[in-house]
């Protein structure tokens, strides 16, 4: 495996769903491939259903109180009953998440290009970015609430933007820089300008890194939006809804909202996956199981 | 005298049914103590597979294979052989000394004994000054010498080498070949040496087994009747070039 593949693989570090990715066969949708995919996951699916049934059964049997452990049936019925409220809150939060994602990623892309181009900038920015990544960025939420008005979605978007900015910037810069020296020499030998080198060599090379970080960022953005909401703001967003329901011990309602958050998160992730396949159809073959 | 290697009709098939691949077929090979045998052939002729059968890293699917008159498994459990691969496979978190001690630790040697043997081996390959260095501080050739020292640390009767110098430059390669011959002379160990390089095979061995692919077979055996003491002069002697030509022609014949 080449150095580059290793780096790509490792940049999936804490990326949850990438643990599954390698199982999607390269052949895509052939019957054999689907059967193979199903064969691997059918047992897990079956045992999942069994667990849900057991959960339901045992909580009923032992009369476990709702506040200790809600039953799946209660969660589902709450989900259906509060459908409108929960989804409307979900979409408001999604708006904050996507907005912040957009701002953060754009800023990250611009700074990455600058960092790749100018060494001085890079040597200054990268260590800051790495250090900032280690800090609890959500602690900025109260500051943004005060700067951008606690009721405005912008205050939450700002938190998401900062959270998303650092990993995307770090990874994209890495991708732009860690190009095979021989490719760079090739460009020099045909007297390519640094802009052309950027376009033809660095940017295509950086795409896998970029998408890896976008996948992480998509998951982070929804979570960051919800967490930012915990620091105060309008009541009709997911974060406030969850904490309000929890404070009233209405846990099935809270779980229903979490279910919405998970669905939105996975959907966002899958959209990025789709974008990745669109932009880099050749890359899928790199992700085979070890 | 025991046969170090005694292979009769050995074969190896990978996979099953429609996808089965016959990597080796009808391998007959004998080696006596102190022999130096090379396996040479084009890619895919199964020479590395054969080496791994001897090492009990793979199991034959047919035929009989005895190492020191035992099954390969038993020979492995008895630690009868040491192995050197193309990449030095040194553990980069251990010093050179600790790398050489690795097999000794696994074989439950006492600490003093381990230390003593490691020193001895590093002396033998002339790397005693680097004992406390880390692998990344050493050149490729030096790393391979450490790998060889490690393979000999527990004094096996057989040394298996799988294209050990393939990753080195030509000059280092020739130096390393000289080293291996020296070690072989001093320790009397038996060696099975897999290589791509005709001059290397001729320079080092007593016998060269030429292999052909699809399925892997030994197509000819060429006895190298160069004097046992070999050096730079040997590399320039007429007989050396004749033997190289013989091996080359045997390889060509095998391919047609």
């Amino acid at each position: 495996m080449t150095e580059r593949d290793r780096i790509i693989r490792e940049s999936h570090e804490t990326d949850v769903l990438s643990a599954f990715e390698g199982d999607v066969p390269v052949g895509g949708r052939t019957p054999a491939a689907i059967r193979e995919f199903g064969g691997k996951y059918l047992p897990a699916l079956v045992s999942f259903i069994v667990v849900i049934l057991l959960w339901e059964g045992l909580t009923r049997l032992f009369g476990i109180e709702t506040f200790v452990l809600p039953k799946p049936s209660e969660i589902i019925s709450s989900f259906i009953e509060t459908w409108d409220v929960v989804w409307s809150a979900g979409f408001k939060t999604l708006f904050e998440a996507v907005g912040g994602f957009g701002i953060g990623v754009s800023a990250a892309l611009v700074t990455s290009l600058a960092a790749a181009r100018w060494v001085g900038f890079r040597e200054g920015m990268l260590p800051i970015a790495i250090a900032a990544n280690a800090t609890p960025i959500v602690a900025l939420a109260p500051i943004f609430n005060n700067w951008f008005s606690i009721t405005s979605p912008l205050s939450k978007m700002a938190v998401v933007a900062v959270v998303v900015y650092f990993p995307v910037m770090i990874n994209t810069t890495r991708g732009l820089l860690e190009v095979d020296p021989s490719e760079l020499e090739l460009m020099r030998s045909v007297a390519a300008t640094s802009t052309e080198t950027m376009r033809r060599v660095r940017i295509p090379h950086a795409l896998p890194f970029l998408f890896a970080s976008l996948k992480v960022a998509s998951a982070l953005s929804l979570i960051a939006a919800i967490v930012a909401e915990y620091f105060g703001g309008p009541q009709d967003v997911l974060g406030q809804y969850i904490i309000n329901r929890a404070n009233l011990f209405q846990f099935p309602d809270a779980w229903a909202a979490i279910l919405v958050a998970s669905i939105l998160g996975v959907t966002f992730y899958v959209l990025i996956l789709g974008a990745e396949r669109l932009f880099m159809p050749w890359h899928v073959s790199l992700r085979t199981r070890e | 005298m025991t046969m170090v290697v005694d292979a009769r009709g050995v074969g190896k098939v990978f996979g099953r049914g429609v996808e089965a691949v016959q990597a080796l077929a009808d391998i007959d090979m004998v080696m006596e103590t102190g022999d130096f045998v090379s396996l040479i052939g084009p890619s895919g002729c199964g020479k590395s597979t054969l080496l791994r059968l001897v090492a009990d890293l793979l199991e034959p699917t047919s035929g009989q294979l005895l190492i020191n008159a035992k099954t390969p498994s038993q020979a492995r459990l008895d630690r009868d052989y040491g192995m050197v691969f193309q990449s030095a496979t040194l553990l980069d978190w251990r010093t050179v000394r600790k790398n050489v001690e690795l097999p000794l630790e696994i074989m439950d040697f006492a600490a003093e004994e381990r230390s003593r043997r490691a020193e001895e081996m590093l002396d033998l390959v002339q790397l005693d000054l680097f004992a406390d260095h880390y692998p990344w501080q050493l050149s490729g050739g030096m790393q391979q010498r450490v790998a060889i020292a490690r393979a000999l640390a527990f004094q096996p009767s057989l040394l298996l080498m799988d294209e050990p110098f393939g990753a080195l430059d030509e000059m280092t390669r020739e130096l390393m070949q000289q080293e291996v011959l020296r070690l072989w002379g001093e320790t009397g160990i038996s060696v099975v040496f897999v290589t791509h390089s005709i001059p290397e095979a001729v320079f080092l061995s007593g016998r060269v087994l030429v292999m052909t692919p699809r399925p892997g077979r030994i197509s000819s055996e060429i006895v190298i009747d160069l004097p046992p003491e070999r050096d730079l002069n040997t590399r320039e002697s007429p007989r050396y070039f004749e033997l190289i030509t013989e091996v080359r022609e045997a390889l060509r014949r095998g391919e047609s």
Binding site: I223, V227 | E105
Partner: protein, 286 residues
């Protein structure tokens, strides 16, 4: 950083210190510069440069040395204490989650059946965004009479164990096939192969995960402290100073700085341990 192993540690330390100083200076210049320019031009977007929303940097630092409450200890003291409280919770969870993650990783690599059976659950556990539901979990725990700090530690453990499992597995499987063959040629037992080859090989991977988890644990701890009634940690203090913003904005900024430092200290500590155990013996490409 191939020149490590003690030779340049003191000079690189000084260099590191100087670059941190440089960063701080640049930051202060930008901050005060923004205030100055925006005030002169009477602009208020995106952030109002008045002292009420954007206090001077020296006022923020000064606030650290003022009493947090009337006649109480100085803010710095209070916040560091809160940071220690939060870090303790994070640390307990981090250690527990890290150990569970490591052993689970070892188990899954040893037994393919176990991996097939349980890995989907491990992955599924992470689709529940625990950070997002941390406050709810704390309320839930409170109802079950679990002490708040324990619930927060459990949250930190949950955040830590997944990356550690994944990276432990990756690391344990990372040695080259020839090295594994080498161990087999020594008739090494599975346990010996594990401890002499796989675990040392896995260390860089494990520490990568631990550094990420360290940051996540601190965030999880802070977020878990947000529900009403939680005393003593950074989360509550941040909320409180947020409410006091109009009266004393410097206090919020000051405590945010302390919170940021707390995260850096934690990750820094893990990095130091990593340097001890890992980097010194290998040529590392950061």
């Amino acid at each position: 950083m191939s020149e490590s192993a003690g030779k340049t540690s003191s000079s690189s330390f000084i260099r590191g210190g100087l670059s941190i100083l440089a960063v701080i200076v640049v930051f202060v210049v930008l901050w005060e510069g923004y205030k100055f320019v925006w005030t002169a031009l009477e602009w208020t977007e995106p952030v109002d440069p008045s002292d009420r929303t954007l206090p001077h940097t020296w006022d923020i630092v000064g606030a650290l040395f003022q009493p947090a409450q009337r006649n109480g200890p100085i803010l710095l003291f209070v916040e560091v204490k809160a940071a220690m409280f939060t870090l303790r919770e994070a640390l307990v969870g981090f250690l527990i989650g890290g150990s569970i993650g490591f052993w689970l990783g070892v188990f899954f690599v040893r037994s393919q059946t176990a991996e097939r059976a349980f890995m989907p659950y491990v992955v599924a556990s992470q689709t529940v965004p625990i950070l997002a539901i941390a406050p709810m979990v704390v309320v839930w725990g409170g109802k079950l009479d679990i002490p708040q700090w324990l619930t927060v530690s459990i949250i930190a453990a949950y955040l830590t164990f997944f990356p550690v499992v994944i990276n432990t597995m990756r690391g344990l499987r990372s040695p080259q096939p020839t090295t594994v063959e080498l161990m087999r040629s020594y008739a090494s037992s599975p346990r010996e192969t594990l401890w002499k080859l796989q675990v040392p090989a896995a260390m860089p991977y494990i520490f990568t995960a631990l550094k990420v988890s360290a940051a996540a644990s601190v965030i999880g701890a802070i977020v878990g402290e947000l529900p009403a009634g939680f005393r003593g940690g950074l989360g509550r203090d941040l909320l409180q100073f947020s409410q006091q913003f109009t009266a004393a904005p410097e206090k919020l900024f000051a405590s945010v700085i302390i919170a940021g430092l707390a995260g850096m200290v934690f990750v820094g500590a893990v990095t130091l341990v990593e340097h001890r155990l890992v980097a010194a013996t290998r040529r590392q490409s950061t």
